[in-house]
Amino acid sequence: MSDATQSRDLEAITTAPDRRPADLQPAWRQDFPIDWPLDQYVERRDFVKFLVLTSGALAVGQVAIVAQNWLRRRQGRPEMRRVAALADIPVGGSLLFRYPGEHDTNVLVRLGPEELVAYSQKCTHLSCAVIPEPDKNVLHCPCHEGFFDLRSGAPIAGPPRRPLPRITLEVRGGEVFATGVEYRTS
């Protein structure tokens, strides 16, 4: 303590306009010193605090990810649910639906007579809603110009780095059913 204070006082050459000593100055003056050496100076205690807090936050984050995965697996596959009649969706057309929860919006695109794809509508960058553009074969996120491949959901341009969660589909007797959500990391 005394060493640190001493070396700092030697370098503290700027006196405040009221000419009172540094100890009597308000705290902000010590937080934002005018002197370069003081501005660059990082106390060992501050550095250790930074190290402990950031590595702690990283560790907590890892645990949170593991817990999230565990919870998701425990929930099991969501129930199968009817989405629409196949005849209602023209080839090249799309449809919005909610699955598995009320707040999970997804987009279904009919690429060909027998080819159907469905993805979560939340962009993997910042959760904006993606818009299917079947003529260009992409899903477009207008927020930051992110693009996903329409056939695989993989990111092809812009800030997103992870593919969109895929909704697995099944066609039974002319009806389209959503059977599950496939979260992917790459």
Binding site: I13, T14, I34, W36
Partner: protein
């Protein structure tokens, strides 16, 4: 690396011939990308050809840094007030309004304040600032106190200036007539603004050392004191 303590900057406006050498030399420096940090001011253009080179005075309590809301203006341990840190400067222009000498300038296109930093790239390795190397009349002089005393026997350096209620001590010295400097401690700049020089006489309102800054009115010590947690 730091500016050697024995070397000082002296401005002698009397010797300035308005040749713009310092302005050109300053603008050739790479560290501020072609802009001149020197303001060559005319004192009273209608009446006189007298010019004054204005470089940063490097105050001991830099007003520009005091008012900076972004904590961008820093003073190195050798007393040189540096240009605004680029990552911090928000180009608000507070420093421009606050500096009593009118030194800082905001470059709107760069969103950055830049000011004279006494050629820190040169002075920190013991060289002279650009302007002082080229000044033909040595109105801008960089050297030791002994040198200036020997070269300018009839002048004396002064580095205290009174602006209203603010007394400013600077790193950079201004040469004043020795007769005046011996009986006074600082120049009252605000009072000098109203003075009209008669003929060729130099009139400077000098404040004797006894009349210390006690004449200051009670200023609220810290307007934000109540906001401290």
């Amino acid at each position: 690396m730091a500016k050697p303590d024995r070397l000082h900057f002296f401005i002698d406006p009397n010797r300035c011939i308005g040749c713009q050498s310092c302005v050109q030399a300053c603008s050739e420096c790479d560290t501020h990308r072609g802009e001149s940090m020197i303001h060559l001011e005319f004192v009273d253009r209608a009446q006189s050809v007298q010019t004054v080179p204005v470089v940063c005075m490097h105050c001991e309590q830099p007003t520009c840094a005091e008012v900076c809301p972004a904590d961008a203006i820093k003073r190195t341990a050798d007393g040189v007030v540096q240009s605004a840190r680029k990552p911090r400067c928000i180009a608000c222009g507070n420093c421009v309004a606050a500096c009593p000498f009118g030194v800082p300038e905001v470059y709107e296109s760069r969103k950055l304040m830049m000011k004279c930093d006494m050629c820190y790239d040169r002075t920190s390795i013991g060289r002279k600032p650009m302007c002082a190397t080229v000044c033909p009349s040595q109105a801008l002089f960089y050297g030791t106190r002994e040198e200036i005393d020997r070269l300018r026997p009839s002048s004396a350096p002064i580095n205290q200036f009174q602006f209203g209620q603010q007394t400013i001590t600077t790193q950079v010295f201004v040469m004043t007539p020795r007769a005046l400097a011996t009986r006074a401690a600082r120049v009252d700049v605000t009072a000098a603004l109203d003075e009209q020089p008669s003929a060729r006489s130099v009139l400077l309102k000098m404040v004797p050392p006894d009349a210390a800054p006690v004449a200051r009115q009670a200023v609220p010590a810290d307007p934000f004191a109540g906001m401290e947690a």
